[in-house]
């Protein structure tokens, strides 16, 4: 597998969440994702970007266009230096929330992608990587 193209965007404000959605949409269109697959990765990106802003106190998103054999994929890494998640097992459960949300962000976005990886350390930050293949 190799990375064909990559870039990092700031994810600090609500407006950045919109920019993340628009950037991911364009990339998914360029990679010829179906409309449903585009919508899934854009929605997952929106959830994770909001987590970065609201819970992580801001951070960044790195996008990568990845290639493996003949297939193309999109990999997104959201990273913040916020308070981290003390109990990942709970955080991944449907309906579990510390904020005012529905608690569907992490668990829900995992269902929308092919690959999902989360790494978090209390007081150090959180890193979530997702990927979806065409």
């Amino acid at each position: 597998m190799f990375v064909a193209k990559s870039e990092t965007l700031p994810v600090r404000t609500e407006q950045d969440i919109v920019v993340v959605r628009q950037t991911v949409r364009k990339l998914a269109q360029k990679a010829s994702f179906s409309l449903v697959d585009q919508t899934k990765i854009v929605t997952a990106a929106s959830e994770l970007a909001r987590n970065t802003v609201v819970h992580g106190g801001g951070g960044s998103m790195q996008w990568e266009v990845i290639q493996d054999g003949g297939r193309t994929g999109l990999r997104l890494t959201f990273e913040d230096q916020g308070p981290g998640i003390s109990n990942l097992e709970f955080a991944m459960m449907d309906g579990w929330t510390t904020g005012a949300g529905l608690g569907m962000g992490l668990s829900g976005s995992k269902r929308l992608v092919n690959e999902f990886e989360i790494f978090s350390e209390p007081n150090k930050g959180t890193r979530v990587t997702i990927a979806r293949w065409k």
Binding site: E14, Q15, I17, V18, R21, Q22, R25, L35, V36, Q38, T39, K40, V42, T43, S46, E47, R50, D94, G101, L102, M104, G105, S107, G108, S109, R111, L112
Partner: protein, 129 residues
């Protein structure tokens, strides 16, 4: 700050969401719409989301909130025009928008609102007799 316009059409309020909403804009819409229901005494709210290319948990919650708030304020809400890809994604995300009335088109949505109100009008007339 930008706002999503709310149009009044007789006893109904009409909202067409045509922009990629940032969170604060979604919250303002919720506030504006409830204020307008009270001000106009509207009995029905039609929200057209056919231009929305994605609904995440935040926007989904806003839609569900508007629906229950307007119901508390004695108005029916119908959400119309959700794109199929959005519906698929929303359900897989884990949101089913329970309690939200939906219709495939504006026409059908208006029909639902009129029917919901028709029942009430008939009851009003009987009350006046």
């Amino acid at each position: 700050m930008d706002r999503i316009p709310i149009l009044r059409m007789g006893e109904f309020l009409l909202v067409t969401i045509q922009v990629d909403m940032h969170d604060q804009l979604a919250v303002s819409l919720q506030d504006d719409l409830t204020a307008k229901i009270v001000k106009t005494g509207a009995k029905g709210v039609l929200i057209d989301i056919s231009a929305l290319e994605m609904v995440d948990s935040f926007i989904g919650r806003m839609i569900a909130n508007i629906s229950s708030m307007s119901s508390v304020l004695d108005a029916h809400t119908v959400v119309v025009g959700m794109q199929p890809a959005v519906a698929i994604t929303l359900v897989e995300l884990g949101l089913s928008l329970r309690g939200v009335t939906t219709a495939l088109s504006v026409d059908r949505g208006m029909h639902l609102l009129r029917r919901a109100m028709g029942g009430e009008e008939a009851a009003d007339v009987r009350g006046q007799e």
